[in-house]
Symmetry: C2
Subunit: 146 residues, 2 copies
């Protein structure tokens, strides 16, 4: 049976994701940025001053994951957090001046890795790939028992 030899969608997706994240990491490492931090940089590049909770919602990770990511990013000088006056529980997150000018180049690096991945695909293939991923995402996001 093929599936027991790892020839199944779950294995392929998992392995492809690992390859992709490794190569993405390699591309953005020179700027001192890692794979998990890039979505936060992009999200803040769209709109600075978001709260941790807002970043969680947009990037779709759990709150403690974001808390850890932000801690590392602050440590590495990618973001700064400014406590909110009105609500002392929350902070607003901003890019540092050092990283702000490089975010678009980082997005380009990411797109190059995606380009390598889709190198042998036709335009139709790529739009099918998007469509199939969207369909799979929607199916898994739908909250009911299997």
């Amino acid at each position: 049976m093929e599936d027991s030899k790892n020839d199944n969608l779950a294995y392929k997706l998992h392995y492809l994701n690992r390859l992709l994240m490794l190569q993405l990491n390699d591309q953005i490492k020179p700027e001192g940025v890692s794979q998990g931090q890039l979505p936060v940089l992009c999200c803040l590049h769209d709109l600075e001053g978001q709260t941790q909770a807002e970043l969680c919602t947009r990037i779709q990770v759990e709150q403690p994951t974001m808390a850890n990511t932000l801690r590392r990013m602050e440590r590495d000088g990618l973001i700064r957090r400014i406590p909110c006056e009105q609500d002392k529980r929350q902070s607003r997150v901003y890019l540092t001046d050092r990283i702000r000018p490089t975010v678009e180049a980082l997005q380009q690096k990411r797109d190059e890795v995606i380009g390598k991945m889709t190198g042998r695909m036709s335009v139709n293939d790529i739009s099918d790939f998007h469509r199939l991923l969207d369909s799979a995402l929607l199916a898994l996001e739908t909250n009911n028992e299997i």
Copy 2:
């Protein structure tokens, strides 16, 4: 720009993989098995007595990753390791009697999650999905600069 709003293949793949692994975990957790352990169980179900290095090659993870996974699986009573007489550096890995009879049911659980993911796809879609993942894998496995 759409890509800066996480509407890109890298983000989708990453997110889909996370959803898939979470739901796979939920399905196999009752048997005391987790997502990263399932490929090892399947691989040993095909052929018991493989070495750590052989498992690495088949499952395509780095050796320290496998070492850790095997340590947890031994701790949890999923495998046992028998030192090799001829070559004292290596051990051969076997399923425990407890887990051996359940491996096929676990594979079925995995296939159910995959089924949920592909629920709205046609047979053609699914074969396209395989083809596109294979193409992407091949492109990223090819070892040259972007």
